[in-house]
Symmetry: C2
Subunit: 206 residues, 2 copies
């Protein structure tokens, strides 16, 4: 596998590097020759009401984790918000091509970090993944984050993260660190932030 060093950071980016926003899509626009027929096929399968656009509801029905649980709604919305470039509330086939690639990139990262091939990311595997992503958490916070995003608890089988929550956790932490760094212009580890900015920053997170 060619996943080493610098490459890890890529899929956690928002939007991912190499992804360029497809321009000019209009709802119900005809298929252009640029769309891969395989992508069009997947798009048609997800677009169950044949409206020419995929809604959050349709996308959630189509996305399942390795343990057959549906993606949690917040992760589905994260994906929609990333790729619904024209803010229509639904994604067309061109936007879908980007989404499809993004999910596949994340699946490769997930499989790579699922060292024991259990189909989920154990808490130790999650910690290792965050280190590889260069998402360094203050001491004491790793434990909070592991439990926040774990999909099951000690009461059941070993706590671990399903794909959806692994993706969401990584994106949220990346966004938070970047938001702080943008505000910390003198790089002293402290920021000044207004009520309005603070609320907007936090409540805009996936």
């Amino acid at each position: 596998m060619a996943y080493h060093g610098h490459g890890y950071g890529a899929p956690a980016d928002y939007p991912p590097p190499g992804y360029t926003h497809p321009g000019g899509f209009t709802r119900g626009a005809p298929l252009t020759p640029a769309v891969d027929p395989a992508i069009q096929g997947w798009f048609n399968a997800v677009d169950t009401d044949r409206s020419g656009a995929i809604t959050v509801v349709e996308l959630q029905k189509a996305l399942i984790n390795g343990d057959w649980t549906p993606f949690d709604l917040d992760t589905v919305k994260l994906l929609m918000n990333l790729f619904d470039v024209d803010h229509s509330g639904a994604i067309g086939v061109n936007e879908f091509a980007g989404l499809w690639k993004y999910i596949q990139d994340w699946q490769r990262v997930f499989r790579h970090h699922d060292r024991d091939q259990s189909g989920s990311i154990g808490l130790d595997e999650f910690a290792a993944a965050l280190r590889d992503f260069d998402l360094n958490l203050p001491p004491g916070l790793l434990n909070i984050v592991q439990w926040k995003y774990a999909s099951t608890t000690a009461g059941g089988r070993r706590p671990a993260l399903t794909f959806d929550r692994f993706l969401r956790a990584s994106v949220v932490i990346r966004q938070l660190i970047e938001a702080f760094q943008r505000l910390d212009t003198d790089r002293d580890g402290w920021i000044q932030i207004s009520y309005e900015e603070f609320m907007k920053l936090v409540l805009s997170l996936p």
Copy 2:
């Protein structure tokens, strides 16, 4: 209904007023005479493996919204974290009594704010509820929050909040406002916050 003015704020509190932490519960402790038999019956129904303690997995299986969807995991964890006083990762029957009352209080609030009795909280109903809770959002943020917590999208039926997401949204916004106010000691609408504090504050939210 006796829900007016001041009373609205109550259930959004963390922990709710009037709720006192039940002390000294140990996992598997015998039933004490203080436990309401009805509560014990509900507890037994939820504790499907008869371990004497309810895990996140058991609690999630027991909690459903008015539209028969299961509670989202983040809301189930919010509830567990509020009532798992001894941090055992599971709740005993005494902790469960508090949880049960808390959910019932929220159900009353939910039904009150579900003006059109649709079984969900429409975006306008949500805005009205936040005003009633004295959770005043900066301009422009209401729309972000409405869409963040909405359970469906314009693509399907009218976007609205299920019970779980209504509860979680209200608790998160309350906690955020309180966290900001605690740090804004001179009440000028600005705070200084370190990287560590910032990350801990945000990633500890439900």
